[in-house]
């Protein structure tokens, strides 16, 4: 009776039954956990095992890249989403089995580096599914990062390309659309407490048949978002871009044949992998590490640890993220590992090996390790709409361990660069515009992060987002025409907010925003780095400062500007320190703000940040310090106190002897105040995180993770990590206010009791004196 042996036939039958009766075709872990390219198909094996003509391959590659470039330009020119105008887009091509082969030369590689997941899902689940199928003229839509993607704001259109009845490759295009019907406008809601607050969560599904959008499905999607016109327009844009790319691919097939295309697409990614293995092998064997500490869940201040170790052994590289913070089941900042990998790739392709072809195949030879239920490897149910917090870190932190691995090489693939500013520093907005439109999206300032200092020169100011060197920060006039945002201060570099170093980071700029012409408008922001320095520096430089969100409320600045325009200077420090807007309520906050309505003329201020510094500040050429003064990047105080340069403030002539003396003295002071490392460790290191600190992640042992449960600290084995459930900050605030109220009430009662007693005593005394 207990004989449970199953024959192979029974097993086949059982598997078929389970496959046919799967209740929910959830994202497939087999697909999602594999970032490598798949094995060669039989046909690829046949074609690539023989000799191939490199000139032919090169010609096909050139034609395909030109087609992708054309596709990218089409999206940029026609796309309605703000992100499309600023370059947050990509057009790409995949092999028949779904591996990313090439992207448009100016596209965002991260967007494409995750589309192979939904394509592989479509191949696996929809090809043989009788109610779906994959046919010539079909197209699919997708945005849920759990099925592959960066975050839910990015919508992809995916189309198979058929040739003589056979599917030969896939083309896709992706736009950061923004609005997606989430609980807050703009598609990136920090207030999301579950994945059901994220708005549209599109697993890959067919929305195009016979090369046309299905209007019923388009209408359904429009009905789910705040900006239905945007949804329709950009679905059309993506469809027609895919159609144009398909047309170009068909022309290639016509001219060069199917075999040439198959060889070219596959050869391209195999060559990349071979080169990556060679590059890993030339690095020294060893391990380099970096830590970074985001200081917010975007709902409350909390110190999260992200840990990254890069280990090289021969031609193998492992990226180890174990020991990082646990996931938060009711906070928006979780990220799934597949999303994280795309942004790590971006970092490698932007800062480490920018000369390699932009394709996910680069990461094929690289293994990655995560703890389960880590915030960097969030489980399916975790909300992930503000995964940008870990993702922006992923774009920047690899440069530190990779530089420490590669500095010794006799040659360079690019300059050494300290981390770029790593926060999405921008206003996200939503509401009713002055033109009567309902919108929700984000400002292009997200693309203006300062670059880190380099080994031979300073970082560029507000150069690009860390996820794409080609993205732009947009035109203010265009924004003001479409939106009720008035930029009172824009693109003014934030003086003294600098990653100091031998070579300093490029600066970020101030954003001073207000609104007029509508009564229904609001802002939110989603950054960390208001308490703890966001980016680690390189080789003895300093990191960026921290950045607050500043507000002037309960006042209409436009009224005052009309009366007395000369008195107000559009400079955050001047506005806040001198409080020149009369009658305003001035305040500072962490740069994590859930959506709040902004009244006409109220002022919201934030900064894009500086990149980290490179090298010792005392090694900075005094002439460069003077240039920074001339350009108003730093103050005289900074030149003297940080860079130790002595000069005439009127002429900016450096007193070299006095500067040398001051710097020598500072070096002597360092020797005096520095402690031998072992003694320092004894004095500084504590067994556990300070009790007052809401700390998440490992401390001295990566297998032991700290977190909280019901507001109290807990310790967990990394292998048994549980999700964090955070209390509602408003409940906490109410609790704290109630407690304060109780204290005040008790004081009042005590006071009353004392008062009664003294009244009685007085009365008694009076009555005694009367009797006398």
């Amino acid at each position: 009776m207990n004989d449970m042996s199953v024959t192979p036939e029974d097993k086949l039958l059982l598997n078929k039954f389970l496959k046919d009766n799967q209740l929910f075709l959830i994202a497939d872990p087999e697909i999602m956990n594999d970032h490598d390219i798949g094995p060669r198909s039989e046909e690829e094996e046949r074609l690539l095992s023989g000799p191939s003509d490199p000139h032919l391959v090169n010609m096909v590659r050139g034609r395909i890249l030109a087609a992708l470039d054309e596709g990218n330009t089409m999206i940029e020119q026609m796309g309605a989403a703000p992100g499309a105008k600023w370059g947050d887009i990509v057009a790409s091509i995949f092999t028949a089995s779904g591996d990313l082969s090439m992207i448009a030369p100016h596209g965002v590689v991260g967007f494409a580096a995750c589309v192979h997941y939904p394509i592989k899902y479509i191949i696996k689940y929809w090809t043989d599914e009788p109610t779906v199928g994959v046919h010539d003229g079909d197209g699919f839509i997708h945005n849920d990062p759990r099925y592959g993607g960066i975050h839910g704001t990015d919508q992809s259109c995916i189309m198979p390309v058929f040739w003589k009845g056979k599917m030969v490759c896939w083309v896709s295009c992706t736009i950061h659309e923004g609005e997606n019907g989430a609980t807050e406008p703009g598609g990136m809601p920090p207030s999301a407490e579950s994945r059901y607050d994220e708005g549209l969560k599109m697993s890959p599904f067919k929305v195009i048949e016979n090369f046309q959008l299905r209007r019923d499905l388009v209408t359904f999607l429009q009905n789910m978002v705040r900006d239905p016109k945007l949804q329709l327009e950009d679905m059309k844009v993506k469809l027609h871009t895919c159609l144009r790319m398909r047309e170009r691919v068909l022309a290639v097939l016509e001219e060069f044949g199917e075999e040439a295309l198959t060889i070219s697409l596959r050869q391209h990614i195999e060559d990349v992998q071979e080169e990556v293995r060679r590059r890993i092998e030339e690095l020294p064997d060893g391990t380099t590490r970096v830590l970074t500490f985001p200081d917010s869940t975007l709902r409350e201040n909390a110190l999260l640890k992200f840990s990254m170790a890069v280990t090289v052994k021969g031609d193998r590289m492992t990226l180890d993220f174990r020991g990082s913070s646990p996931e938060f089941i009711n906070r928006a900042i979780n990220c799934n590992a597949a999303s994280l990998k795309t942004m790590l790739l971006t970092s490698y392709l932007q800062n480490v090996w920018p000369d390699l072809p932009q394709t996910m195949a680069v990461f094929g030879p690289i293994k990655m390790l995560f703890d389960e239920k880590s915030v960097l490897n969030g489980s399916f149910e975790t909300p992930q709409p503000m995964s940008l917090i870990p993702l922006f870190k992923a774009m920047t932190i690899p440069v530190i361990p990779m530089t420490k691995l590669s500095y010794s090489l006799p040659h360079r693939y690019t300059a050494v660069v300290a981390p770029q500013y790593d926060q999405p520093g921008t206003f996200i907005y939503g509401g009713l515009t002055q033109n009567g439109e309902n919108v929700g999206n984000f400002c292009a300032d997200i693309n203006g992060n300062g670059q880190g200092g380099r080994n031979h020169r300073d970082g560029e100011h507000s150069v690009s987002p860390p996820f794409a060197a080609n993205c732009d920060i947009g035109e203010m006039e265009v924004i003001e025409e479409e939106l009720p945002i008035v930029r009172l201060g824009a693109f003014t570099l934030a003086r003294d907010r600098v990653g100091f170093g031998k070579y300093r980071g490029g600066l970020g700029y101030e954003m001073i925003a207000s609104t007029r012409g509508t009564d229904m408008w609001g802002f939110m922001t989603g950054c960390t780095g208001s308490l703890f320095t966001p980016s680690q520096p390189l080789f003895g430089g300093y990191g960026p400062p921290v950045y607050p969100l500043c507000k002037i409320q309960n006042v209409n600045i436009f009224d005052q500007l009309e009366k007395d325009p000369g008195n107000i200077k559009f400079d955050i420090l001047d506005l806040m320190n001198n409080q020149t807007v009369e009658g305003g309520k001035y305040s500072t906050h962490p740069m994590a703000m859930t959506f709040e309505l902004c009244q006409n003329g109220e002022v919201y201020m934030m900064c894009q940040g500086t990149g980290a510094g490179y090298g010792d500040v005392l090694l900075r050429d005094p002439a460069h310090v003077m240039k920074d003064i001339e350009e108003s990047l730093i103050s005289h105080e900074t030149a003297l106190d940080i860079f130790k340069v002595v000069y005439d403030q009127a002429t900016l002539l450096v007193d070299e002897a006095a500067t040398k003396k001051l710097r020598d003295n500072e070096r002597k002071s360092r020797l005096k105040r520095g402690k031998p490392f072992d003694k320092f460790v004894k004095d500084f290191v504590t067994k556990e995180p300070p009790a007052y600190l809401p700390y998440y992640g490992s401390w001295d042992d990566p297998t032991v993770i700290y977190g909280t449960s019901q507001g109290k600290r807990i310790k967990m084995k990394a292998s048994e990590m549980q999700s964090m459930f955070m209390p509602n900050p408003k409940d906490e605030k109410i609790k704290s206010l109630e407690s304060q109220l109780d204290t005040v009430k008790a004081q009042l009662e005590a006071c009353r009791a004392k008062g009664k007693a003294s009244v009685k005593a007085v009365a008694k005394a009076k009555s005694k004196s009367k009797k006398k």
Binding site: E282, P284, D285, G286, R289, L291, F293, D295, I400, K404, Y407, S408, L409, P410, R412, A415, V416, N455, H456, R457, L531, F532, T533, P537, F539, G540, G543, P545, V546, P548, C550, M576, S587, T588, H589, P590, D616, L618, E637, D641, I642, R667, K668, R670, L671, G674, K675, P676, F677, D678, F680, V681, F684, V685, T686, P689, P690, L693, Y695, W699
Partner: protein
Amino acid sequence: MKVLMTENLRINLDTEKWECRHCDKVLNSARDNYKRSLLAYDRDPREIHKPLLDPKKYTLTYSPDPTWCRLIEYYCPKCGTMMETEYLPPGHPPLRDMEFDIDAMKEQWKHREEVLKEPGGKDYPRSRKSVHAGQAMARMATGDKA
């Protein structure tokens, strides 16, 4: 054979020691954590990232919160050059950021010539007239004149 490892450090493969690139001070074993041979200082980050907003008026001032964030500076014990910096929570163990297999490195450098000055860091000239033009871009990359 000396191998340049960072802006400030090199490894002498013959003696297996870390060395300061600025003053040639011989530090500790290259198989050990180089930080153990340096001086370390726990700095209040507000001394470097000074409050730019009036601390009497505001709690957040562009300065890191010293109860959350400390700035650890590492100095060469001979010349006082700042070799590394790291931002850590108070009491967090300093990171061992570099750990190399010295035997493998020796093997690797048997086949390489010593590098005395780090490579890279070349800036290509920018043509203000036509930065997007293909031929101009190509000339920038190759260094050829028009």
